[in-house]
Symmetry: C2
Subunit: 326 residues, 2 copies
Amino acid sequence: MQWVIGIDVGGTNCVVGAVATDGSRVVGDHSQPTLPARGADAVIADLVTMARRVTDHVRAADPTAEIIGVGVGAPGPLDITAGVVLLTPNLGWTNLPLRARLAAGLGVAAALENDANCAVQAECWVGAAQRGRKVIGLTVGTGIGGGIVIDQQLYHGASDAAGEFGHMVIDMNGPVCACGNRGCLEAFASGVNIARRARELLAAGTPSALRDLVAGDASRVTAELVYQVAATGDPLAQQVAEDTARYLGIGVANLLNLFNPDVVVILGGVARAGEQLVEPLRREVARRAFRPAVDACSIVPGALRDLAGVYGAAKAFLDQRRAGLV
Amino acid sequence: MQWVIGIDVGGTNCVVGAVATDGSRVVGDHSQPTLPARGADAVIADLVTMARRVTDHVRAADPTAEIIGVGVGAPGPLDITAGVVLLTPNLGWTNLPLRARLAAGLGVAAALENDANCAVQAECWVGAAQRGRKVIGLTVGTGIGGGIVIDQQLYHGASDAAGEFGHMVIDMNGPVCACGNRGCLEAFASGVNIARRARELLAAGTPSALRDLVAGDASRVTAELVYQVAATGDPLAQQVAEDTARYLGIGVANLLNLFNPDVVVILGGVARAGEQLVEPLRREVARRAFRPAVDACSIVPGALRDLAGVYGAAKAFLDQRRAGLV
């Protein structure tokens, strides 16, 4: 059987696994901390070690296994054609030829793709967006990003920079975003900003079970905790979740009016809240976007969770090889 | 020589002309008021008469001329596959089989396309966006709309509803838009709302040459007049033009971050202001969007003016015929 090694490089963790070329399964997947402060060489050495371990695992299980290549998903901006990471503040990398480094380290062909694009493409391939033809994937995690897949092909834009959905201004007088603009979607609804809004309500004295759960240390409030506590009926957490659905609803309604997708798939850490996040989001979008766009579109949580990046990196290798790019 | 009749149906005027199938020229073009209150039958009868007049004109000039079809651009929402205008409040049409009616009236094959899509596709074909591969066209007129062209193909979305750029919320607490949401781009920067903002400043007592030009009747202030007066250095009009560039700049910067186009072409009545509109818009976008997206993109005024719709309707016929749709 043929396999592709999928590598998902995140600011916190790296995940590596072997993906069957028909997308039917991932084997040997494991995760370890990225620890980017050690520098790119150390991180790449770890990725090579992890990929070799996965390869050994596959070969032990299937003596006829053939590893045909490796795909790696990394935060952007990237030059995909050149296989170079241009700049990733989270990792401290600049103009890093990651594709060539992994190909040399592993002795197989390699492909590089944006991490959010990988996750969205994975959901289109074997996840929650398989029936979609015009798919928007919105990644809601520490930040907000995403990807566009048209007729199963990733849409990269003119310079591999499409899909920065977090940096769509929805309130020109809103809070300052990490990007310098005011009122970007990310400044309201990323994991970091969901937690910030909860902390602001706590600081204002709003009663909540959150206060005891973090033993009075508001810095320990996370988006995940907010959704857990909201599920128990906590009014502060429910208010934060409701506001989040409204902000994301404005952003997703914009995307429906602009792009008229048939599937919007919600990914990333915050999307673990599942229907608790997506159900009120659907209501907001239905209230805001044009009817023909609303009627044409399903809004669904992703199905692949932590493995979306691994599946998608492998798919990126298969797609780029088919396109003659690698 | 082969020709396609292009018909541009607007709420105010209809324009009809014969377009050479290589896009090299339009002949016999003329325009007349739509007068939609007379009902769809009367408007369609006029379109047929106008198209016959154009046909006579072409045949008089070129005895070997062959009219191979007719393309019509109309305001949406449409069902392009069925050739039906679903709903156009401006024209009062509902579920009108415009394609079949024109084909029957003229005895040739016909194609229907969204009017904004036609204008954008025309600029890609023979206008200001010819070098673009990922093109956003923004029509700024009475309302704001647009179209997306990827690798010379119109992107329609899942239900022919893509490209409603005017209904992207840029200020969730902003003024109420005609669509019912708050703070859509259109609610700030359409021709109607440019004039509204100028009237509001006049009503607040701001000095301006506009006041005398409209003889104290603020209802006569138009976006066109605002740009004319701004060009003479009038501070109120310059303020309105500057604010317009800021609002459009937020919207276009959003589109760059989402879609990463290589060309944004600005069309519609307000775009007649040309560089007076586009030059400050470029500055706003460069300040707001991500650098790789800004560096990849030219922002240009359209080149085809009143004939964009006619060229684009003819191109829609050629494209839909090639796709086997008509």
